[in-house]
Symmetry: C2
Subunit: 433 residues, 2 copies
């Protein structure tokens, strides 16, 4: 078995030295052994196929329970796919269609690996954390950030989160990652989290900010192997005309040999399929077949050891949208509702008393982030509980002094009242009624 590992590691080391250098000890250890899934694949054309532990009718067809089968309306092929195992990297058809979806109408899209299906975006992140995290590894994340990044990288793998403010004086800070890594010894690999539109911030950088961010990341890559993780959960939910919608991932692909851009996206938010758990990992690298296989050996072994295989049922449901020719239109309908809510909340945000609540940059995504001035001395968690108890209003509190409003789960006409209640609650606790 360790022969396979040696070969996989040697291939990666020679074809993608920066990626190899950035692998965690676990990332170096993992490889996909030639056991049951590989053996089943090799035997798939046999007349008498007794390889795999799926229960079929003996001719390759699923035998679902009638009570479960009854709720799914699918072709016979799709029904078999939905009830039997998915390949560990996901269904080939879905991976291809998702790659097309990511590219949309891009002219001259750069080559990347095929998207690798995961059990939702958190699982894609956990595979990246396993591959590139590990004891002591620096993970740069601009603050404020989604708490699960810390759980996933730091608590779980022992990596060390380094952060710098995402906003300086109310403006996006394109050098946050560079600042966070400034004193990391040259040559030491690092991971950078990039999340646009952001959570909890609701921000996407402008064209000029993207240029500056790109230059900053390239300077880091001059110093060290840099894995840029592009968390595109809220892909293209951008509401201001001048702000680029296309993922910043595409700006970074192929720009520096020490830079490894990885796109994390999926159906969760982009297709409003929260419960389905279909995510994707896409490496922004142009690899030959042998190197692709070596990289997938790593990905497959971690995925198989954590979840077995990704959800077939949800992949088949997502396929219906991607095959329908209507996905673009249907997704746009959801984006239009999100944009309507964005417009509906603007007057209320503009009217906020800045001595109580300050709006952080907001032009996209699912969330509005408000900051309470430090001089108020208010604990955001106490504010949150007060709003539930006295104003029947739910928001998320984030240390040290942020409140996050999810516009995605509130109707447009309720948003002004929600904002007004948040302000009233803060005013009351600040002793200024």
């Amino acid at each position: 078995m360790s022969e396979i590992r040696e070969q996989v590691n040697r291939t990666l080391e020679s074809a993608t030295p920066a990626l190899y250098a950035a692998l965690s000890p676990l990332g170096r250890r993992m490889f996909y052994p030639a056991d049951i899934p590989v053996q089943a694949q090799e035997a798939r054309q046999t007349t008498f196929n007794g390889t795999i532990g799926i229960f079929t009718d003996g001719r390759g067809n699923a035998v679902p329970l009638p009570s479960m089968d009854a709720v799914l309306t699918l072709s016979e092929d799709d029904r078999n796919r939905a009830f039997l195992y998915s390949p560990v990297p996901g269904f080939e058809e879905l991976r291809t269609l998702w790659g097309d979806w990511q590219r949309d109408d891009m002219a001259d899209a750069p080559a990347t690996c095929l998207p690798f299906a995961t059990a939702g975006l958190a699982h894609a992140l956990s595979i990246i954390a396993d591959l590139f995290g590990g004891e002591g590894r620096a993970i740069a994340i601009p603050t404020p950030f989604w708490g699960n990044y810390r759980q996933n990288f730091e608590l779980r793998t022992g990596a060390v989160v380094r952060s710098a403010p995402a906003y300086h004086e109310g403006r996006f800070n394109p050098r946050a990652i560079e600042e966070a890594l400034a004193d990391l010894p040259s040559g030491e690999p690092a991971v950078a989290m990039l999340n646009f539109p952001s959570n909890p911030g609701g921000y996407s950088p402008t064209r000029e900010e993207r240029e500056e961010l790109k230059r900053s990341l390239l300077r880091i890559a001059d110093q060290r192997p840099l894995v840029t993780v592009h968390d595109d959960a809220y892909n293209e939910l951008v509401y201001e005309a001048g702000v680029p919608k296309r993922s910043f991932f595409w700006d970074m692909v192929g720009t520096h040999e020490q830079l490894i851009p990885i796109k994390v996206d999926g159906a969760t938010k982009e297709f409003a399929f929260f419960g389905g758990r279909v995510g994707f990992l896409t490496f922004g690298l142009d690899l030959d077949a042998t190197t692709t296989e070596a990289l997938e050996s790593k990905l497959k072994s971690i995925s198989r050891a954590t979840i077995g295989s990704p959800v077939a049922t949800s992949q088949v449901i997502l396929l219906q949208a991607l095959r329908s020719g209507k996905a673009r239109e249907e997704v746009e309908q959801i984006r239009a509702i999100a944009a309507e809510r964005y417009q509906a909340i603007q007057p209320a945000l503009a009217a906020l008393d800045p001595t109580l609540l300050r709006l952080l940059p907001f032009n996209s995504g699912f969330f509005v982030l408000l900051e309470m001035p430090a001089e108020l001395g208010l604990d955001p968690h106490a504010v949150r509980k007060h709003l539930i108890e006295h104003y029947s209003t739910g928001i998320v509190s984030i240390s040290p002094r942020y409140l996050r409003i999810a516009t995605c789960s509130v109707a447009a006409d309720a948003l002004p009242e929600l904002v007004a209640r948040v302000e009233r609650g803060v005013r009351e606790l600040a002793g200024r009624r």
Copy 2:
């Protein structure tokens, strides 16, 4: 945050000292922080609820894409559940119904924790590996065993697999785990894998063997905290009248204070829902509410950091069966087909030339395991390839000299021919045609 961790760890240490002693460093580190899911839960009754990042119509209802919604026939409530997030431990209704399903018609079933939903059985195993594995921890697994155990525990967490033969001279060896742990210093915690019906073995112990196994495990628990992992993937697929069907997990619950039995089961094989990825972890411990919460804090934090939340869509599909009142009958129909295949393969197995292939104990499950006598000097992987190329026959090869036939994916009338071809291929390679 570390206050919550301290409290969780102190609770477990005082209420379940053996479990606490068996936790890995990662298991001690993990806890569920009071962030978004907890905050969303606290705000669930508010009029203006802007907590959670799900896209809804503003009144809590999902807004699925029409092309995806069209293939699912569900009540409005279930449709919302299928498209929105599941709670991290799974839907309460499903957890309760699965707990009932596990107990079936058991009189006086002992108290256990509520089943905790996972993304399939491999994910349940990976949570156990994270909680109780880790560098140097002993994992006793009788040989031959499913390769993914090694990937999951050893390669991923650094635990050390210790094994002893599951069969001695063609008979089940109830002391395999005790033998594997014999020289482990007293007091050092260990994990034991128990898999009945087994894979790749296709065996379930008799009543006497279970008694002996139980006594053996209790002797180990006299020496050390022992986590017994009951992999019940093939639950109750037992074809011989005298052999107990009920999970051996129930024999161990509540028998020793140093013993922590954990049941791993799910819809994958038991409900022929391979693609759905619904598994469960059930701790065979009778815990009070505070201790249950502390244990779930560990489980939820690992699950959230690896997959976010379990698959809602598949849980809802599984719920249809469990609510229908027909699950028992529908599952029995699949078991009846499996039993028919078991009968159909018997004459072919009985006719095997024992100088070429020896049948290992087989009375249950999805697989037949054949051993080639050592004196033939045949490489099982070479035999496998030969069977594909010259006999259009697919089987799984396992080192050092095993061949596994999956009866679950072959029709009853094809099984005799499949066995005959395997034997012909082995005879040919043994130079005896």
